[in-house]
Symmetry: C2
Subunit: 390 residues, 2 copies
């Protein structure tokens, strides 16, 4: 049977079409980008690459040294936006930008700020933006993993104004992690435990260092190579301290907190996550990455010892994060997993893997896996969030 639509006359069809268009007028989303580094540039490129006409108007760019605000002549596909920004003589002034953007908010026009920085100062402005009806989309972890007063303020502001604050790319970059967790929570599933390898750097290091086989490269050699490939921060201690993982766990714990029967502690900040740093105590406070890498071999014995113990038991070492909503624990550290566990068998490269153990996904979890860092996949996570606003 053909659907009725196909046998309607073109006239009645068109009449209805016009009626409904009037009801749901297309909404314009004015987009202001703050931060035009690696992720910001890739985001702009993906945004301007959307099929045209798109509902988005790129009306503002802000770098650390200058700003461009051009609502009447948005940056169009094909434009040299770097040159346009460089040609602007305006210094960045977020207070002024806020007022300019707030003036554009109306029932027909949305405004979205894309924060592609990792700045605490920018993050602190989210509640004020949201309160004014400006949407916020960001891969910046600071607001969601930092001081709980800021987090509560931004959640409160979204509830009051209806503006959205989307941050899928703060955990796992473009992987569907936050959205999946939100869906589980919102549809009434009971979250039991979220566990995973949340750091691409840690993933790479331990996938190389601990394969389950006896022997293998020295820990310091793996870290050195990872640094040379650009997989670590310039100072590898910034990865090995586990803070990045702790921040992601704080974000997940906060998103999971409203779930049915969840027994999660109210985290003051990511510093409340029980995090076992991998930095050898004598290397705490070493100032430069070069010195850190030069001295790390002194501690290879300890890491080799852990690896040997694990491999004798048929296990591997992985730096994992756990949000346990039954025990009420949020923790990050080096753990041992059987060589047949997905953390041992399924991981490779610098993949993230996240397992959601829930009442519905039990005994086998819902798993999301893939590259969890990099400009292209991070920008994709941001843009996918932005598309949900339109």
């Amino acid at each position: 049977m053909l659907p009725r639509l196909l046998v309607r006359s073109p006239t009645s069809f068109f009449t209805r079409f016009r009626t409904l268009r009037t009801m749901a007028a297309p909404i314009t989303v004015n987009v202001a980008v703050i931060g035009v580094g690696l992720v910001g540039s890739e985001f702009i490129s993906q945004l301007l690459g959307l099929p045209q006409p798109s509902p988005f108007k790129l009306i503002s760019l802000t770098s650390s040294s200058r700003t461009l605000f051009s609502p009447s002549a948005p940056l169009a596909p094909g434009v040299d936006w770097k040159a346009a920004l460089a040609a602007s003589s305006e210094k960045p002034d977020l207070a002024n930008l806020t007022e300019q953007l707030a003036a554009l908010v109306s029932p027909q026009q949305k405004v979205a700020i894309i924060d592609n920085t990792s700045s605490d100062d920018v993050a602190a402005r989210y509640p004020a933006w949201l309160e004014k009806g400006i949407n916020v989309v960001t891969p910046n972890k600071k607001a969601f993993s930092g001081d709980v007063a800021l987090y509560d303020a931004l959640v409160g502001a979204t509830a009051k104004s209806g503006a959205k604050c989307f941050h899928e790319a703060t955990v796992g970059a473009g992987l569907p992690v936050i959205s999946t967790l939100k869906d589980l929570v919102a549809t009434g599933d009971k979250i039991l435990k979220i566990e995973g390898v949340f750091s691409g750097t840690m993933s790479y290091i331990f996938n190389e260092f601990s394969t389950g086989a006896a022997g293998g490269p020295a820990f310091s050699a793996v870290v050195k190579e990872a640094r040379e490939k650009g997989y670590t921060e310039p100072h590898p201690a910034d990865d090995l301290n586990g803070a990045d993982v702790a921040r992601k766990l704080a974000i997940l714990a906060r998103v999971a907190a409203p779930a049915r029967d969840a027994k999660l502690p109210k985290l003051g900040s990511f510093a409340d996550v029980a995090t076992k740093s991998l930095i050898p105590a004598p290397l705490e406070g070493v100032k430069t990455g070069d010195e850190f890498v030069a001295r790390l071999p002194e501690f290879d014995g300890e890491f080799t010892g852990l690896r040997e113990e694990a491999s004798k038991a048929g296990e591997v070492l992985r730096f994992v994060g756990v949000v346990d909503a039954v025990k009420g624990e949020v923790k990050a550290g080096l753990e041992r997993y059987s060589s047949t566990h997905p953390f041992a068998t399924a991981l490779g490269g610098s993949d993230n893997i996240i397992m959601f153990h829930t009442e519905r996904y039990s005994p086998r979890p819902l798993i999301v896996q893939g590259a969890g860092a990099g400009a292209a996949v991070t920008a994709m996570g941001v843009l996918a969030d932005l598309l949900r606003l339109a």
Copy 2:
């Protein structure tokens, strides 16, 4: 630094709050459920379990034998909806229901029909519903995998009216499969290949039958046990013919078709998917499941032979589906995978696993894995879609 919001006076705060509430008035979504079987009942239970007040009003239920339409007194949490439906004397009349629901569509009120049936007749009505501004959310695969005229009509109707047609649960139930693919496509990624184990039944059968070790149970014994556990359709041929997998592949191929540089054939229907059925030729057309299972042992030798060939090569057998956007192929069938491949190591139970190979997720794919069938996770997929409407 505390965000500004925290130091504003309560008065200015409240004033702003009221202003914004006026701008973004909360929208009511009137929900009409068609199909109140396993998935439908679970969906209603999840919907009525949402935190109150919720934007959703459950105003209509339709089973195969009766219908309830009660916009002035929606079904509330705690109500015995089965009794309410049983007490209705109205026979189901979808044409009448359509008119009743269409009359409720307004800028302040949305209407969503939840089709929890697997009916072709219900699916054929989607374009007419969408055209009238009624949103459709469904786990019913028929409209998305059937006749391309129906599919094109519903896509056209959404584009014209602005009404949404969400169907996450048609592939992988509650797993984020369609939404992930849509995000990849919409943000401009190039889809190379989607491959996966898309049938929970096929997953269970081959996880049991082909573990990579030499020997193992007879194929017919595994099928018999799966049927006794309720993992197969009453007639196992309805699983072994691969049609369910072909339908899911047709859905993915259609969603992926608009992707950058995708070379995908325009499928007339799921019947155009190159599907290698596992039904032994002499058993084609066997009428009952009982007879099918009784005669299946005659063909155990063939399956054992395939398993032996595979295990000698260090491989396992899996029934997989592939959407290859580079070669332009869409196909389903039994394939061999190395014992170290995730399809061999990561799968268990009746899990689905879906790998997205894209330009951004390359060389390692984005992977989603977990239970891909069952009332609770299917209803969750439907409800998560519905939540996006509010």
